[in-house]
Amino acid sequence: MSVLVFAESSEGKFKKSAFEVTSYGKKVSELLGTNMVVLTINSNEPSLLHKYGAQKIITVTNSNLTVFNAKIVSNIIKQVAEKESATTIIVDSGANGLYVAPLIAVELKAGYASNVTALPSSTSPFIIKRKSFSSKAFANCEISTDVKVVSLAKNSFGVFENEVVGSVEEFSATIVESGITSVSIEQTKGKVTIADADIVVSGGRGLKSGENWGMIEELASVLGAATACSKPVSDLGWRPHSEHVGQTGKPVASNLYIAIGISGAIQHLAGVNSSKVKVVINTDPEAPFFKAADYGIVGDAFEVVPKLIEKLKEFKSNNA
């Protein structure tokens, strides 16, 4: 028995979620009284994971795997799971984690719980908490199969340092035929993405026009944050669709979410209430968003935001 964690890297560098799933996997393996094995593919520095509790690291190095391919990766995970007698497989909830997990579940005849937010509350029966109803509720899901697959919701557990001594072992994996070829990848470089951001600054229809986004971008840049918007804002073409967050847009699970001129409609909240701390700036004291917020300012965004930028700049220079 063991816990197998897939720690994803991109262009050789670990994604942030790789450290979170490793930290999480370590705790799960302790609960199950077993050891953890971490699998990496084409990572430049697999041994980084020792810092997060990974004793045994298995790496696959293969130039055919520079671009993620779910079918091939699910099969490699199966090969490693069988070799290591893994009974719990853990992946992240990024685009690739969610792509590969159901395929692994079929390969290993395993029950699968996606978007898991906590450690198992019981190991026998195996019960684990996950998001449901578009983040309006949680379900405690019992997985009854021998092998279990879990995808961990981003930022729901955290990264914990737990330095261990260990080994890095190269595994020569069989590469299956996938029937899928990657033609091109477009990625916004140098800009913090909503999925990766610790802080997200989001604007709503209260900002009146796309031309008023300068202060939102400035606030985001002071905080090293990603910018986002409510649905009507992208529908009106004030901002690109890729910034639309909420139930029908991108989910946000940042540490800090700052909502400016957003009323807090149920469909908006559904997508953002996984964020840890929410700040709301709105002229209307009755705006529903205040009920879901941690900190609120009733005020005009055009006055409050420039002041906030100024104060944050002062704060940053004092704490640099």
Binding site: P102, I143, S144, Q187, K291, K311
Partner: protein, 251 residues
């Protein structure tokens, strides 16, 4: 040239504005007063299927795994333009079991393109399409935001963290779609004529293969209600910066 035989997976979910409550000691969703609709992600898949039917020629079958209460949702899909519907007659309580039911229908029906939403807006399992693809050994694209088909060749794009990837593949294929597969403004809604025609279209009820569930829901929890929001005066923005640093520890 092979013809497209499309199966669209339709999940029957509470309307997005529904209040989420649970009964029977928090083990069942309380559907009292709740209106059920086609899962929003599936609407993109269904509209794309209609596009293929009209522009390139295809048959479109819609499928739901569920009890008789889901039939109005399947009728709505027929009213939007699907040719026929299949309901697999069992309670859908586990994604793996649902995937096995759909896989069995695909094998018997000879479908070569399966379009689904990337997740359902109620249980958010995000697993049925991938599992179906794996069970029937079709190619699979998750979080698909664009799909073109020419003969047997398919070009699809999928959302990746911070961007998109363009993929080339071929039929048979399973797609887990979302916004982008078609634009939201192009989503189809039933018109009067469609609703009338839907009454005559076949809705076939098939018995399940009854596979064992891999998961079960032990209980539900509602979100904790926030311990009231701390209000800060608009003239005291400095206080917000201070609290975010010392209390919330997020900056």
């Amino acid at each position: 040239m092979i013809s497209m035989k499309i199966l669209v997976c339709i999940s029957h979910v509470p309307d997005t504005t529904s209040k989420i409550n649970f009964t029977e000691n928090n083990t069942k969703f309380d559907n009292n007063g709740v209106q059920f609709v086609i899962n929003p992600y599936d609407e993109f898949a269904l509209t794309r299927a209609m596009w293929f039917k009209e522009k390139q020629g295809a048959t479109v079958t819609v499928i739901n795994v569920g009890n008789a209460s889901t039939e109005p949702t399947l009728r709505k899909a027929l009213a939007i333009g699907a040719d026929d519907a299949i309901r697999v007659n069992c309670e859908a309580t586990d994604g793996f079991a649902v995937a096995k039911e759909i896989a069995s229908v695909i094998k018997n029906g000879g479908y070569n393109l399966v379009l689904a939403g990337k997740e359902s807006s109620d249980y958010n399992g995000a697993m049925v399409p991938g599992m179906v693809a794996s069970l029937v050994d079709f190619s699979f694209i998750n979080a698909c935001i664009g799909l073109e088909i020419e003969g047997e060749k398919a070009t699809a794009s999928r959302e990746i963290d911070g961007g998109k990837e363009v993929i080339s593949t071929s039929l048979p294929l399973v797609i887990a779609g979302q916004k982008g597969l078609v634009e939201e403004k192009d989503l189809r809604i039933p018109n009067m004529r469609g609703i009338m025609m839907a009454r005559q279209k076949p809705l076939n009820v098939v018995e399940p293969v009854n596979s064992e569930n891999a998961t079960a829901i032990a209980s539900f929890e509602k979100l904790e209600t926030k311990s009231s929001c701390k209000m800060i005066d608009a003239s005291n923005v400095e206080e917000l910066v201070h609290l975010l640093h010392t209390e919330a520890k997020v900056i």
